[in-house]
């Protein structure tokens, strides 16, 4: 997925300003067994809500595809998962790891070279493509069809990067949140919106006056991010993912959230 962005980053700023000096003392955790966790007995996950069906609030709890996968990791480590909702910018820039806000980031986040510089990624766990959302009945097959029209994207997302690269002559409009972007398409403020296929298909299901008219295979994979150098945790995640894919638990979780089984092609 891309990335989504986020709400004000001020909280991150404040936290960085306060904690930058004492990161070395902020570490807690059980050094004796397994990975060093920021909070003992808990696997703390950073995410940015909402990003259905990957993470979404439902009945007082946060559920979703990512949540179920990380639960497998937590179970393997004998701890429980605790989810922190935080601006996507803080996740994507690696700041949340710097200030030890969480152990891992599962936020429907595409593995990109820029992000690899500020964090380490698990093996890919989901194949994402970018897709276009429009009001029903608009024949928009590619970004170039929107010349002279408005294309909305979400700040700090790979969809935004794709739109900037292919959107010559298209008026690009940046939105802070996925919800605002989708509403802008629905209310006709922009002619189309670009984002990851998973979330757009989820939206179209509930909003039949909109349609996904195109998908672009951008070769994106979602990965779970960990603090740079935290190989103990990263390898643990990879081992759990690998096992879940071979014993069918991954497919069951996939079917639960996407309604289909994953295509075998391209997924590692």
């Amino acid at each position: 997925m891309s990335a989504r962005s986020a709400l004000p980053v001020l909280s991150v700023l404040a936290a960085v300003a306060v904690l930058a000096g004492c990161t070395s003392t902020a570490a807690g955790g059980n050094k004796s067994s397994g990975p060093d966790l920021v909070s003992a007995g808990k696997l703390t996950t950073c995410t940015h809500l909402p990003y259905a069906p990957f993470q979404v609030k439902k009945g007082g709890a946060i559920v979703g595809f990512d949540v179920d996968l990380v639960d497998l990791v937590a179970k393997d480590m004998g701890v429980r998962q605790e989810i922190v909702n935080t601006p996507f910018e803080g996740i994507e820039t690696g700041q949340d790891f710097t200030i030890r806000k969480c152990d891992l980031a599962a936020a429907g986040m595409t593995i990109t070279p820029a992000r690899k510089k500020v964090m380490d990624f698990s093996d890919p766990y989901f194949n994402a493509t970018q897709a276009l959302l429009t009001k029903k009945g608009r024949p928009v097959k590619k970004v170039e069809d929107l010349k002279g029209k408005k294309l909305g994207y979400q700040k700090a997302t790979t969809g935004g990067i794709y739109a900037k690269a292919h959107g010559k002559g298209v008026e690009l409009v940046e939105f802070e949140d996925l919800g605002l972007l989708l509403t802008a398409v629905k209310s006709g403020q922009v002619d189309a919106g670009i984002n990851d296929n998973g979330v757009l298909f989820d939206y179209v299901k509930k909003n039949p006056d909109t349609a996904v008219t195109a998908e672009f295979n951008t070769g994106e994979h979602y990965g779970i991010g960990v603090r740079t150098g935290n190989d103990v945790l990263r390898k643990r995640i990879d081992a759990v993912l690998k096992k879940a894919k071979s014993d069918g638990r991954y497919d069951r979780i996939y079917k639960k959230w996407f309604g289909t089984t994953p295509q075998t092609t391209g997924r590692s």
């Binding site: 962005s5 004000p8 980053v9 700023l13 960085v16 300003a17 930058a20 000096g21 004492c22 990161t23 910018e89 994507e92 820039t93 690696g94 700041q95 710097t98 820029a114 510089k117 500020v118 408005k150 909305g152 700040k155 700090a156 008026e171 690009l172 409009v173 940046e174 939105f175 802070e176 605002l180 972007l181 509403t183 802008a184 629905k186 209310s187 006709g188 403020q189 922009v190």
Partner: protein, 261 residues
């Protein structure tokens, strides 16, 4: 040996200063300056922000603020007069409006106008119009109360004198009372302008194209691009470029008002 009262005061004051200095030094020593410098003061990143941060972001921030302030001031004056009207329904409308828009977050007003209006009427308002209305509607609620206080602060004798010269009530209000009221409320109105300058960052909710970015959005976009907090700091400093002179203006106006008395 007992200290004299004067000496004791000086010792106590000295201790207070000492504690302050120790606290500041301790904070400075504990902070990881290298981390802070790489995160907030990356010169290369800072250079890349110019000139767009001035020519686009700063200019747009000023534009949005002035649009909102202009509309808000006009509406605020009308509301203040309605609030002071002898016709009850006018007063009720004004009070309801002021209580409502002073009470709801500006964020909700932006969302209601930016997304509610297009969904309800299938018309997309121009971005600048939406900003002007959203900021103005909120600003007007505060400014109406300020202006009302200013009008009430003009001595009654001014109206009576104008009336005795043969002016109508309306004429006396427009020509005699309102000009004096505005002189009184200039400092608080400037405060409102500063508040609106910062509230203008809420336009990010409406969705912005590149040439519509204002300072806060510009800073955060560059934060994502450069993976550095430096742009946010620079954008923050740019707000000071706008607000510090305004604050200075308020102080000068206050001093002038004080001298005039």
């Amino acid at each position: 040996m007992p200290l004299s009262k004067r000496r004791r005061t000086r010792v106590i004051r000295g201790v207070q200063y000492g504690v302050l200095v120790v606290a500041v030094v301790a904070l400075a020593l504990v902070a990881d300056w290298h981390q802070l410098r790489t995160a907030f003061f990356d010169v290369e990143v800072a250079k890349a922000l110019f000139p767009d941060i001035i020519t686009t972001a700063l200019v747009n921030t000023v534009l949005y603020t002035l649009l909102g302030f202009g509309f808000g001031l006009a509406l605020g004056l009308v509301l203040a007069l309605m609030r002071l009207s002898s016709v009850p329904p006018y007063r009720w409308i004004a009070i309801t409006y002021i209580e409502f828009f002073r009470g709801v977050p500006a964020l909700l007003v932006f969302i209601a106008l930016g997304f509610g209006v297009p969904l309800a009427f299938q018309v997309a308002l121009d971005m600048n119009v939406t900003v002007m209305l959203s900021l103005g509607l909120v600003g007007a609620a505060y400014m109406a109360e300020t202006i009302r206080a200013g009008i009430q602060a003009v001595p009654k004798g001014q109206t009576e004198a104008a009336r005795s010269l043969g002016m109508s009530q309306g004429r006396a209000t427009v020509s005699i009372v309102i000009p004096q009221a505005f002189r009184i409320v200039l400092p608080p109105l400037t405060n409102e302008l500063i508040l609106l300058t910062k509230d203008s960052s809420l336009v990010y909710l409406l969705g912005l194209s590149l040439n519509q970015f204002e300072l806060a959005n510009f800073g955060r976009d560059a934060l994502n691009e450069h993976k550095s907090l430096t742009p946010v700091l620079i954008a923050g400093l740019c707000y000071l470029v706008i607000t510090l002179p305004l604050g200075q203006l308020v102080r000068r106006l206050e001093a002038r008002t004080a001298r005039a008395r």
